[in-house]
């Protein structure tokens, strides 16, 4: 399993019927210090994770097991939402603080599409 942060989501109207109704999220892999590492990827989700949350995801055939008995064609799945990361037991920082409001919320573009780019 690997640490990651949800940075967006993917809509696909034409897809495998086995993927119908499943959420596809864009995930940025993280180091234990919650720094970005590696390339971003698309994960299916079995936990209800939302944008900005720290999660952990699983890779390989195991990614299909949360959806048993259906076996959708996916190879990465988010299997947990991380509450806190306890590094060396020195500090216990919440990974997803409950009242985390963005300091500078992005201005809404009237009539425009919301860009899912990472801030």
């Amino acid at each position: 399993m690997y640490l990651g942060r949800v940075i967006g989501c993917v809509w696909a109207t034409v897809k495998s019927p086995l993927l119908e109704g499943m959420r596809l999220l864009v995930v940025q892999p993280l180091t234990p210090e919650l720094q970005n590492t590696g390339k971003r990827l698309i994960c299916t989700d079995c936990t209800g994770a939302g944008a900005g949350e720290i999660i952990y995801w699983v890779r390989g055939m195991e990614a299909r097991f949360p959806f048993m008995p259906a076996l959708p064609p996916c190879d990465t799945t988010i299997v947990g939402i991380v509450d806190s990361v306890d590094l060396n037991r020195r500090e216990r920082a919440p990974a997803n603080p409950p009242a985390a409001a963005p300091a500078n919320p992005p201005a809404a573009v009237p009539g425009g599409r919301r860009h899912a780019r990472k801030a």
């Binding site: 399993m1 690997y2 640490l3 892999p29 180091t31 234990p32 590492t37 590696g38 079995c46 936990t47 209800g48 994770a49 952990y56 699983v58 890779r59 390989g60 055939m61 195991e62 990614a63 097991f65 949360p66 048993m68 799945t77 299997v79 947990g80 939402i81 991380v82 509450d83 806190s84 990361v85 306890d86 590094l87 060396n88 037991r89």
Partner: protein, 94 residues
């Protein structure tokens, strides 16, 4: 299997039911000389390891699932042993 060091623990409330009741560890895979090998990963604990322990890490799904006793569950890494000592031939280059 890889040699790894436990560097931290994760707390997750919302997770797949098969992960409940097992510790989630952050483990850093190591080279033979003890240096870091790639990025740290999240693994389920099958042997009650703690932070700082040098452990054996399996990175294959079937072994990981069976070692924590949860068949057909989304687990691809597990800590399956403690390493006490590694002995190498004297001419092995690290």
């Amino acid at each position: 299997m890889l040699i790894a060091r436990v560097v931290g623990e994760l707390v997750a409330t919302q997770k797949h039911p098969s992960h409940e009741g097992r510790k989630l560890l952050l483990v850093q895979p190591l080279n033979l000389d003890g240096s870091d090998r790639g990025d740290a990963v999240v693994a389920l604990d099958a042997v009650d390891a703690g932070v700082g322990d040098r452990v054996l890490l399996t990175t294959e799904g079937f072994s990981a699932m069976t070692s924590v006793g949860r068949r057909q569950s989304p687990i691809d890494m597990a800590v399956i042993g403690f390493i006490d000592q590694i002995e190498l031939l004297p001419d092995v280059l690290l």
